[in-house]
Symmetry: C3
Subunit: 215 residues, 3 copies
Amino acid sequence: MSLNTFFQKLVPTDLKFFPMFESLAGLIVQASVAQQQIFEHDDPVKQKDLFKQIKDIENKSDEIVQNIFDNLDKSFVPPFDREDIHELTTSLDLVIDLINNVAQRIRQYRPKEIPSEFKDFTKMVFRGCEQINLAVFELRSIKKPNKILKACKKMLDIEKEADDLYHSTISNIFKKEKDAIELIKQKEILENLESIVDCIKDVSDALKKIILKTA
Amino acid sequence: MSLNTFFQKLVPTDLKFFPMFESLAGLIVQASVAQQQIFEHDDPVKQKDLFKQIKDIENKSDEIVQNIFDNLDKSFVPPFDREDIHELTTSLDLVIDLINNVAQRIRQYRPKEIPSEFKDFTKMVFRGCEQINLAVFELRSIKKPNKILKACKKMLDIEKEADDLYHSTISNIFKKEKDAIELIKQKEILENLESIVDCIKDVSDALKKIILKTA
Amino acid sequence: MSLNTFFQKLVPTDLKFFPMFESLAGLIVQASVAQQQIFEHDDPVKQKDLFKQIKDIENKSDEIVQNIFDNLDKSFVPPFDREDIHELTTSLDLVIDLINNVAQRIRQYRPKEIPSEFKDFTKMVFRGCEQINLAVFELRSIKKPNKILKACKKMLDIEKEADDLYHSTISNIFKKEKDAIELIKQKEILENLESIVDCIKDVSDALKKIILKTA
């Protein structure tokens, strides 16, 4: 037993990390719901409200992340390896940042048309965020990691599904859209949507690393 | 007291790092001045000279960075944590690389028009580089970190200001520019300008990490 | 002598890493050959076959990488520093991923024309991959690192050469291509080609780090 492990058995784990992770996971689901609504509404007033909602969520997320990092510096025994907490937190925060990026681009570019596949994409993102939420709320029971592993598996499946959808959608955009400026808009929004799904995979990787060391 | 700390008290800190950081900070200011001038001159001869100036600055920067890394391997007691020096050096070098990227793109793309906001952007970059210079010259007095912290605060303010400017400028480009190829040029130059400001924030983060551990 | 070094002298190095690296290096050469052929064939049937070949190579590469990482967790004495093996493996895998990216983009974008400079680029990539292969097969004789260092030097030369070619080619694309959508396609394929060469430089950096610590 290393000295470190020895101390970890003596000193109670700092439990205040769990509520912070859970708040972050809740914000992720909220952001993904708002994102879905953006792609379903043509009403500019409603859209403007949704852009603001997502921006507010991003600000709240930044606060929680700062809180987690501050506690990481002070806490004697965080529940998991410091570096792994850092990685998990960063990837959770990034999901929200990237959802905000998509919203910002729609606001700035005002695309004339949104390919219908984009809605399917936001549904996949939402499903991935649901799995993130499920997995994060299971972190308290990390010693029985089955539910987390199941959620991670689903995140990976969603990433593969999204990859296929990306390929067919980008091919379609180049086939159908003959207005170069509209093509630029659609292409970049699609790439930003894809980056969210990649980031959901990063969350899954971070979770699995924590399980490997802790469970 | 750890063994490491014990040795650090016995062995004098390797002071030759400071002049190297200061040279790098000086080059950053020079590069940002040359960049401003590129955006103020339409004269292709003058511009060509400025592209070369920036390329030369980039080469000098690479040499200094190599020097810092070589000394990091050899030096018994660098003034700060090795990893933090690495991060600071990399971010300082990247500022210059990114300024060179902007210059190269203008040279390669020959945009017909440069939105006036781009000049405002280069002014913000210049102000950020001035703050970097100020902060780096204060590293010798890291035990009294107030001036560095003030400079870091200003870098962050500039990053936020630049973020707002980016959003309004990209919206304007999509509103005004109807020539798709010209839009591509402007969009990418703007994105490259923005990445400089993001990197100035990274410098500020690296500086704050050093203060946290040293001051 | 540290305890770690002491054990390393007692326990035989885990030699099964070498064949795995060598398989990976072999796949890299295969992928770069297939990539060259894509740019030489207009026949869509032949091209489709090549896209599939590269995709299959990427899948095989993923398996080997997983294998290396699994062994890294289990092996008591890997032949080099764990982190360095991780870095080398990741950069080797990325070369193949990026070659696949180029193939995918050609498949999705169906560019009407391919600038002749792109073929020169794929030849440079192929030469770089040959040097990777040479260097990786020399890892068994790392104590005499001359041949690896020579190969690394050539990788760097290729990267510089490719950098010049990139600059002149992107300028030409903006001069010649007046169809914005075709320009977007060509520009992005070129950027993806360039990222392969950047990654070859990363392989060279990873190899040199291993030499520095081991030879």
